[in-house]
Symmetry: C2
């Protein structure tokens, strides 16, 4: 029987490295009981180190009623861990064969219908669920490091995932305090990782070509566009680059720059359909806020961030 | 005669749209006299609107002694503007022929040796300075929108730029309160714009392919990696994705992911030289701070950002 998402009490974290351990810390702080499993040498000790390191941050943000580090159990046997699960979050190394095997083992050991979510950075559940006897309850729930602080979780099912499981997982993560994007299709790397990966690969190319140093790359982000991105995403950011004309003016003005060698990634052709989709998306997202409203919001946000980081 | 960078009193903003007007607001807030020129219909009115909209933010951050919006003069004649300059910041539309012609006109009208800087988003000064009689004093000083809040300025000379002018401009921007990256070569799009452009192009591809909506893209950044980037850049961020092993472990673990179709941008080959350059760069940037130190810094920073934005 699948518990209702609000009735989940015990979360099994299968894999307890940086990501799995971060999930463990998060679920503990939200008042869940956590059973962690990890076959690596010294995993239990590393997990406690990680949870202890995260706890001050989590305490500062506010713990849920009953949240207690003592609700963490390390269980060296996967089967004995999974049998206790109301929900499983798998965070094993990014190795397809390993994840296929592990998900099948988790599936075999976990009570029927309990949802099994994977932290995979980019594999689709379709390619990971192939060896599961009950693939319908497997789903991707992709977090960002550290999972105990970054709100985003991207949820996506595979071809054999029950659509109800995608909805259940989205509800569960929201109840647990996460910001959820539910995807209606499988895209390698999901959304945020694709965007981040494009930036990262361009950065590696620049280091390889001697165009920029590691330090210049980091400074260019922390003191540049990185100050806008917690406040407004890339689309709304460029909606404000066009003055009162918004994204429409921006695309008409900077559209030709898409042909410029400003990155090694070749741009999508700016067809009238794409232009309209982006402009209409910004209008939907603005939801009646004028350019002046959004500029004022951005400015308040950027100032708040600069101040918060002691840089104003 | 070129004034010493600390003796600049009057800044000429040639082009007063979103970027030029943002520069005008910034320089006014830092106590400079600003002479703005823009040939567009209604430019003067738009400029005052922009400066007025920016002023509350600038006041909140703290104005320099003597800062006064009344120190802004709109001058409809380019020659009469430039003759007053101790420094010129050009922010015309991103059109190479236009910038070439305008920079030559500015050069002809501006006192000898006064530095002329361009806000260009991506042209190299080599291709823009071709029609200047005195190209040695022309340099790129690339800001981020809004220039009155985002600290970063990327400074780069062209082949005919006097290296002293690159140094002078870097000093001047620093004295004016900016965070400066001085580049030792011309790269189209400089550094931050290349990174941002890679992300932006991947985002456009995703919208074009129906892989994500505009709203999902923005949420994936504001609630995901965007919360880390004002705190630590992409390199240091990934230095912490590898646990105690840092960037070296991260590249060894996630290196194969560079071959994954996680973005349309093909990755640089992860040669031993590139791996070492990235690992050594992170070690230099860490400057003795351990992984635990950096995790604690990141966590404090992300929490401060979440709190500042009312999202904790």
């Amino acid at each position: 029987m699948r518990p209702a998402s609000q009735d989940v009490r015990t979360v099994v974290c299968a894999g307890a490295g940086v990501i799995g351990g971060g999930w463990a810390a998060y679920f503990l702080a939200r008042g869940y009981r956590v059973v962690a499993w990890d076959p690596g040498a010294g995993a239990e000790e590393r997990l406690h180190h990680l949870v202890d390191a995260a706890w001050p941050a989590l305490s500062e943000l506010g713990l849920a009623d009953g949240a207690d580090r003592a609700s963490l159990v390390f269980e060296p046997d996967l089967g004995r861990a999974c049998v206790q699960a109301d929900f499983v979050q798998e965070s094993a190394p990014e190795d397809l064969a390993l994840k296929r095997r592990l998900l099948a083992d988790i599936d075999a050991a976990t009570p029927e219908d309990v949802v099994i979510s994977s932290s995979t950075s980019g594999f689709g559940m379709s390619e990971m669920q192939t060896e599961c006897a009950r693939p319908g309850r497997t789903v991707v729930g992709h977090p960002f490091n550290p999972p105990y602080l970054i709100p985003l979780v991207e949820v996506a099912g595979g071809t054999r995932t029950d659509p109800e499981v995608v909805a259940w997982a989205s509800d569960f993560f929201r109840l647990a305090g996460k910001s959820v994007i539910t995807m209606d299709r499988e895209v390698p790397g999901f959304i945020a990782n694709r965007l981040q990966e494009a930036l990262w690969r361009e950065a590696l190319h620049m280091v390889a070509a001697g165009e920029a140093t590691v330090e210049q790359i980091d400074l260019s982000i922390t003191d540049g566009p990185g100050l806008r991105w917690p406040v407004q995403g890339p689309m709304l950011t460029f909606h404000l680059a066009g003055g009162q004309g918004g994204m429409a003016h921006m695309l008409d003005h900077f559209g030709p720059s898409l042909l410029s060698p400003w990155t090694r990634l070749r741009a999508a052709e700016l067809t009238p359909e794409l232009r309209d989709a982006v402009v209409e998306g910004c209008d939907r997202e603005a939801a009646g806020r004028t350019i002046d409203d959004l500029v004022a919001e951005r400015d308040r946000g950027v100032i708040a961030v600069l101040r918060a980081l002691g840089r104003a």
